[in-house]
Amino acid sequence: MNLITADAVVKDFRGHRALNKVSIEVPEGSIYGLLGPNGAGKTTLLRIINQITAPDQGAILFRGEPIGNKHRAMIGYLPEERGLYKKMKVGEQALYLARLKGLSRQEAMKRLRVWFEKFEISAWWDKKVEELSKGMAQKVQFITTVLHEPGLLIFDEPFSGFDPINVDLLKQEILQMKKQGATIIFSTHNMSSVEELCDHITLINESETLLQGEISKIRKKYRANKYHVTFMGEPEKLTAGLETGFEVLQLDENGMGQQATIRITKDGGPNDLLKNLVEITEVKAFREILPGMNDIFIQVVKTASRKTNRTT
């Protein structure tokens, strides 16, 4: 079942369409990545799901019913521009935000103690936010986002502004929450995190959906028939012995042995290539090179903008 369904959402700002019939389906318990260049409309879509703004056309469904006020407590939102009341004390503020999400005072206190200990920031309870470092404030904000244990977590660029150690901490937390049954939607530029975390993605460019689906299927779809071979023997022998239709893209040597990247340009599968290779060298390892999300991202976006340039 889909936790969130966005159905042909349109949002117009003055003289500018921010979203043009964007639809997404977020299965319950999955991690969903929202990708796209700056200004593509990701934040607008996340704001619409958070009921911060309303769509001009289309609808958002939460477990099949139109999203409404009662769903606010089931969502935790970490906006791209982080912010807390600067003059307010950390503990008091976390308590206030938790209660706005519907937690009772006692329950909020109990959970906050656990989280503050986990993140080792208990000492900061009575400090004002303006006294905290940026990283510390981000931790506090992350806690306030997840404290009410919402079924849906929405992170807008969660990794921006965190140092590598905290990025890793955050990734672990996200995976942990998924394990506990939460659904997570996040937008990002960080493609390695997409490959690592996401089950599904949607790529938005210039307000429209460019690419959508399960990440494994997308990567297969964009495979370039490239294979990586580790072998023993003379590199010249390899180049000379390959049949036509097998093209060597790269050759080098490292501690593991000779390395080659080969593309299949004719009909036929990896078995044909492997047979050919076994005849001329001793193959130690053989694997397909699936395109990274980074490459797919760049390729798809560039193709799309070429298309629009042609039509306009």
């Binding site: 003055r14 911060i52 906006p79 912010g83 807390l84 009341y85 706005l100």
Partner: protein, 462 residues
Amino acid sequence: MNKTSLIIQREYLTRIRKKSFIIMSVLGPFIFAAYVLIPMYFATMKDKEEKTVVVIDESKLFTEYTPDGTTCVIPGTDYLKFKVIEGVPLETFKEGFNESGYYAILFIPSNILSSESSLIYSTKQTSLDVTNYIKRSMESEIEHLKLAKHDIHDIERILAEVETKLNVRTITWTRDGETQESNTGVVMGVGYMGGLLIFFFIFFFGSQVMRGVIEEKVSRIIEVIVSSVKPFQLMMGKIIGVGLTGLTQFLIWIVFSFVLITGLKAAFFPELNQTPTQQVTGTDLFREGGADQDKTDTAATAVLSGEDMDKAQEIFTALKTINAGVMIGSFLFYFIFGYLLYAAMFAVIGSMVDNETDTQQLILPVILPLILGIYVMISAINNPDSALPFWFSMIPFTSPVVMMVRIPFGVPWWQVIVSGSLLMGTFLGMTWVAGKVYRTGILMYGKKITYREIWKWLRYSS
């Protein structure tokens, strides 16, 4: 728990715990007390220093020869004495003036009746009070003299008889024929105070709402909050929370000021009343009959405070004539709804900008009606029932201020009802409009927003 009440709680609690709130709560009554007590202090201090004016009377019209010596016709007061000096020319006297310790020289030329001018010489500017006193006394003396020239029989008696001091008492009556004596001055003062209080409250706490909205925008917490609550709830919570803060501050001020003024008056003023007496006693040590002088001065002081008592009594009776229930009720009504109306507008301004410096051009159109209200209020004091105050007490943007000054004079019920409903209706409409602009504005950054753009936002369906 209701989210709006949570927001109200936060706004209220964070504000009343602020240092500035505590400082203002403590300082406010002192400023208030100073406003009340300093004029009182000056009033009692006024002319307590004894001044002697030397009279050089060439006309001899102002000199009276009694067995005790020569005295001046102009009567002296407690603190202003006149002393006629004869046989010393003006120029000689002027030379020795600085050492003489006299306050001024009044030179009356021999042709005073025809020239109708006399001269006051002094090394420093003489006070307006003294000049006026001399002018008035001399005028009345010269009038007497001129009348006497006509040789009317029994002129002194006639003059005494003619002299009139008219006391105009104003009495209002209701439809039932009940009569009440009122004191226009006091009634006016109460209305004026009410209107001014509302003006300051709206201005001060309205801009606090605005600053609160800007703070939420600048710190970027706004997005988190409006994902938890509706923007309208946030806006109303803030407006109500700040309003309650203001009411709390006012309550503290009123109670504290009352205590302070009564306390200070009791503790401070008896001493104050004695100071001039002691001064006189001090100087009199070098004179004969100092003790007698002391007695008369104490008596004078006693009379003075007696007069004060009478005045206070008069004010209290006048205050009683104002229907306290109606006054307090309408004050609270206009106070609360006037604030709510303007606070919604201030919230909109806050949502439109990224920092406080950009607010100035936007604030002006909002506070202009308020300032206009103050002007109309001042003119309404002369004629509270004329057309101008009437219309301005109907227009909701000025009615909270203008109606306050009219109410103590008695306003027909239908007018209060129309004005009140207009205010409430406008408040509801304004809040609705404000909510729409607000929720668009709080998510806008970096753009300078004009009123034309707001008009466009209003027409957005979302």
